[in-house]
């Protein structure tokens, strides 16, 4: 077959663009076929891909480390106008802080009412489903191109709705628990989509729903599963590295909400999910002891 390039430079530019997914479909197909017929060249492109993956792996720590306080404070406190009266800047900061604390308190109060008498902080046993939820969070949240298996964004509103329905039905069928796609838009988070995950030996699969901050890049995930018989229903909090988690069991479904957000903000989201979760069909797979 004829080489679809006239010069070595054009060949390399095209193969490189092929790797980056930047070729139009027809050209891509041409290159696909050419690579099939030229295994030596295909091997060279695979090395480029390996270098790309190695670079990403080398740099992933910058994404998972907590953001230094000085950078966060800079963003919250920076007042470009030098003429701004000192109290105004401070006032805004104080107001933001008060709102933040209030949110936390309201959330904490709601959680407390939901499960009176339960400890809020707990240590999940090693190898537990909560740890699997934290791990799945850390694996998929940094993904840019393939964060989810089924994305809900469609070209039109109808298409998005159809995708959402499909996702919800598919996960419900596979998990054998009702999977509802929570609406967190009021809290500033939009559903990206979901995926099916293996959930430990002997258990059925788990599911992960991913949400992203509207206009931002922060992501939180909700992990759902059919709980073990003995799973306690308490509403608990756990920290795993820089991932904060709230988890609970309600109406025959185990939920774990994970995010690298301050506890108060995450609690507000947990509370929104708690309010939206499907009601028990039978008297809840119940807390009791």
């Amino acid at each position: 077959m004829a080489a679809p390039f006239s010069t070595p430079d054009e060949r390399d530019d095209t193969l490189s663009a092929w790797l980056d997914g930047e070729l139009p479909p027809e050209r891509r197909a041409e290159v696909d076929a050419w690579l099939q017929a030229n295994p030596e060249e295909a091997a060279r492109v695979r090395l480029w891909a390996a270098d790309r993956d190695a670079l990403r792996a080398r740099l992933v720590s910058a994404l998972t480390e907590p953001v230094p306080d000085r950078l966060q404070q800079l963003v919250w406190q920076h007042a470009p106008e030098a003429a701004m009266p000192w109290w105004q800047g401070r006032g805004q900061w104080a107001a933001a802080f008060v709102i933040f604390m209030l949110g936390g308190l309201i959330g904490a109060g709601a959680a407390w009412r939901a499960q009176p008498g339960r400890a809020l902080v707990a240590q999940a046993p090693a190898g537990s489903w909560v740890q699997r939820a934290a791990l799945a969070h850390s694996v998929y949240v940094p993904e840019q191109r393939h964060p989810v298996e089924v994305a809900v964004a469609g070209k039109t509103a109808e298409e998005s709705r159809a995708q959402e329905e499909h996702l919800s039905r598919w996960l419900t069928r596979r998990l054998n628990v009702p999977v509802k796609l929570f609406d967190l838009r009021e809290q500033g988070y939009e559903l990206v989509g979901g995926r099916l995950l293996p959930d430990g030996a002997g258990a059925g699969p788990g599911a992960q729903l991913m949400y992203q901050a509207v206009g931002g890049t922060a992501r939180v995930t909700v992990y759902l599963r059919k709980p073990d018989e003995a799973a306690p229903a308490a509403f608990r909090f756990e920290r795993d590295g820089d991932v904060n988690l709230f988890y609970w069991v309600e109406a025959g479904t185990g939920y774990a909400l994970a995010g690298s957000l301050p506890r108060g903000q995450l609690l507000a989201l947990a509370e929104a999910i708690y309010r939206q979760q499907p009601a028990a069909s039978a008297p809840a797979a119940s807390p009791s002891k």
Partner: protein
Amino acid sequence: MSVPTSFRQQLLGTIPRLRRYARSLLIDAAAADDLVQTALERALSHWHQFDQQRDILVWVISIAHNAHMDTLRRSGRLTIVDPHELQAEQDRRGSDPGADVGLRMDLVAALQRLPVEQREPLLLVSVEELSYAECAEVLRIPIGTVMSRISRGRAALRALLDGRAPTPAVQPLRRVV
């Protein structure tokens, strides 16, 4: 007019990606965070110039890129070269039997050997997963230039990792089938 809280929140959301980008350019974590700080300060001072239709990440990355270029210019480490000279320079470097040639290079060391003109687009697309169009926007160069710089950068990086000198551009096509 003061900076809206919603803008501050959006900006906070970009910090992890911005830190990764800065670290990929500078390697040294403290220097990288200084660059992030400069970029955030500039973004906050020019928040009203941000068009909400655009991706804020691409916008702040452009700001960080400009800040980085300013630093390089100030310290005299940047010479603007046209693409032909860039290639000639690479060929010269390639034929120079420097200490590194013949050794398998560490990924980071190899990355640092790439001229910034190649390193930046390669990182923006490979690591930050920007499209060629977004990369062209950040670097203010044509898409065709983005494409050729990335492919040169990729080939040069691989050559360095293999312990070869980066291959000169003008080289006969080995096998035309």
